[in-house]
Amino acid sequence: MSDRPLTMPLALVLALAVIVTLFPVFWIVMTAIKPPTDWNAVPAIWVPGEPTLVNFRTLFDPEALGVYGVGGVSEAATQAVFGSLLASIVATALSVGIGLAAAIAISRYSGGGRATPLVILSGRMFPPAAIAVPFVIIFSTIGLIDTYFGLIAIYIAVTLPFSTWMLKSFVDEVPKEVEEAAMIDGMTRVKAHLTVTIPLIKGGLFATTLFIFILNWSEFLFALVLSYTTIETIPVRLAKYVTATAGTLYGVQAALAVLAMIPLVIAGFLIQNHLARGMTFGAVKR
């Protein structure tokens, strides 16, 4: 592909795409630093004249908004942040780990037969709402309701089809001959995959991990139906910032949303090189 200079029409389209993409982020960040009087002011206040961190403080000190005469926040978001981190990190690690093993088994050894990929994908063929209540009944019976163990188990079950299919497409792109050469050199199958296959799909692995992490991090339905008092996640807490005296606490919701974006932004930044490669891996058919 040649390095042609950006033409004006393309530059305009690109600028529009950037604005459309970044506008919600801009609005959420601005709302997060607005005092309550500016949250839903008419006309809208784009950039607060007196920015404040009170919304962020409210996340960890429910009384903080009291300085603006707003009360009714009953709980800190600490448990929700902890819960999201724990559930998302563990579930993502296990989903990607199991998905990778499954992807190699399917791609290289036709594990389980030709129908296996479709069977795995069938887990995503009906809406989560349809399986939420059965999960609640099963988990209630076996004592997994309102536990992180239960939530992580569901997250793995729900994201495993994605991780398996995504990783399979990356493994498919690696020529078998490279692994066979390693085995001829004396490596076992497992060692060949660990030292040859996986490094070659590193970009795809990072991209899959980030994708699965985002799915887990933003998941709402299962966290809502499975949680009582012990577990909570950020999306569930976001829905609870409503008080009788101030209605929806848009600023506090925005602050938690900004906080929730941070791990994803950091992860995306750290692996951006791999990410770009991972996203385009397999785009050109051999």
Binding site: N40, I145, Y228, K240, V242, T245, A246, T248
Partner: protein, 519 residues
Amino acid sequence: MSNRDKLQSEATKLDVGSISRRTFMSRMAALGVSTAVANFIVQSPLGASKALAAIAGPEERAWELAKEMAAKAEKKTLTLLIPTGSIGNMTPYVDKWQNELGIALEFIEEPDEVVHTKGMQEAVAKTGRYDVMMPTAMSYPDWIDSGVIYDLTEWTETYNPELFNPDFGVVFPASHHAQLYNGRVAGLLNDGDQITLIGRGDYIEAKAKEFEDKFGYPLTMPKTWKQYYEIASFMHDPENNFFGSLEYRSRYYVKWMFMQRLMSKGRLYFDGDMNPTFNSDEGLAALEDMLAMNAYLHPDAFSFTWSSNYNSFGRGEGFMNIVWPSGYKYSMNPKTGPATHGKIAATVMPSDTLADGTELHAGLFCWGYGYAVSKYSANPELAYAYAQWMTSPTIGADAIPYLGGYSDPYRVNHMKDPTPRLVDTYGTPYLETLYDNMVNTVPDFCLPGGFEYQDALDKEIHACMTGAKSPKEALDDAARSVDRITRRVGRDKVKASWMALAKNLAGPIKKASGADGWV
């Protein structure tokens, strides 16, 4: 000596004639009893001691039961499933329950639209994590039928919460619609949710002459829907960001605007055989009224939630608003009503003229939280004791004015004999308005499948308001959806429940709708 003992002692002194009525009144005031309640005690033919015992009885009986059950309870926590934003009415009593009963109150807050679902979920999950659940009245039928909550009737017969007392019971007909399912007590109401009409009293004074010159009658808060429309059109001044009214056109809320108008025209949702009746001439007229009003509404009407609606009105962006009682509180508070505090006039919902020429005043009792007791609670009687205690005439009156909760007046004494704190919060005229409106209220779809019914209607009314469907199309489609729900839930079952509701409608509504001929 406790406050209650002191009150009892003073009542006994009055009964035996050792103190005068005047002295009794001043001592009651010193003990924090409102003039109205003191008057009720003084004037009661029962005698002061018995009158005091009567109004304080539900609280005391509940407390005795709570003490007994707390002592027996192995689990020393009472867990409440409550909607987010409602906790402020309950937290003031947490220390009392902990210190005097050794019971920790734990609150699980869920978004209000999720509470019903969480209850239904508990019916299958049976976790026992909830003791007390706080749904709206619409949840009771499905919750009772699914076996997730207790029928409270026997407890209410034993411990008598005075639900139907004419002096301090829950105002009829909400006492029946918002607490009973098929004639049995399913929950205890703690929130008198009804819509009333509020407006800017200051504008009424300023524009009186101009209005009368134009329309030929004095400018007041509207008494009829026709006046409501005319006054909105007169006050509408979009160039100055001031709109005729702020009523809702947004999903989830818009059905109530329709239902209210339908009731005013003397139509209910169903006839005596569960056939939908909103797809009628009255229903079409209600939708036409709403479409005509769209021209004089706030531009955010199609996206309003209750909080954005209250905020807009509080900023002074309209002349009238259709609000729950909390909307009045918002508008009168300088923090939430910077442009409206001290300037609010209120009235019962406007009337409509029926075919026979009578004016029908109908209200809508919509939403309305209450306490129910989970079937899977480890301490159900303790949970019941909490519900009765919190909703007793006395504690209820104390809890309502606290900020940070949704609870609004629901018992007769809250409106007719208000405590000073209730008067400070709502003002005597508005409490009178609430009472006058509440006695003519029609309930939500407090029937099996209630949430499905209301959603089916809401979807179609919204489609009509946005122009996606004509009024006839929208109402016919809603009727088809509602019929499907009735068939699925079971016509006989829903009909029995509908008849129980219809039996306890206010007299004028019964007559106008023809329900007096079915039950």
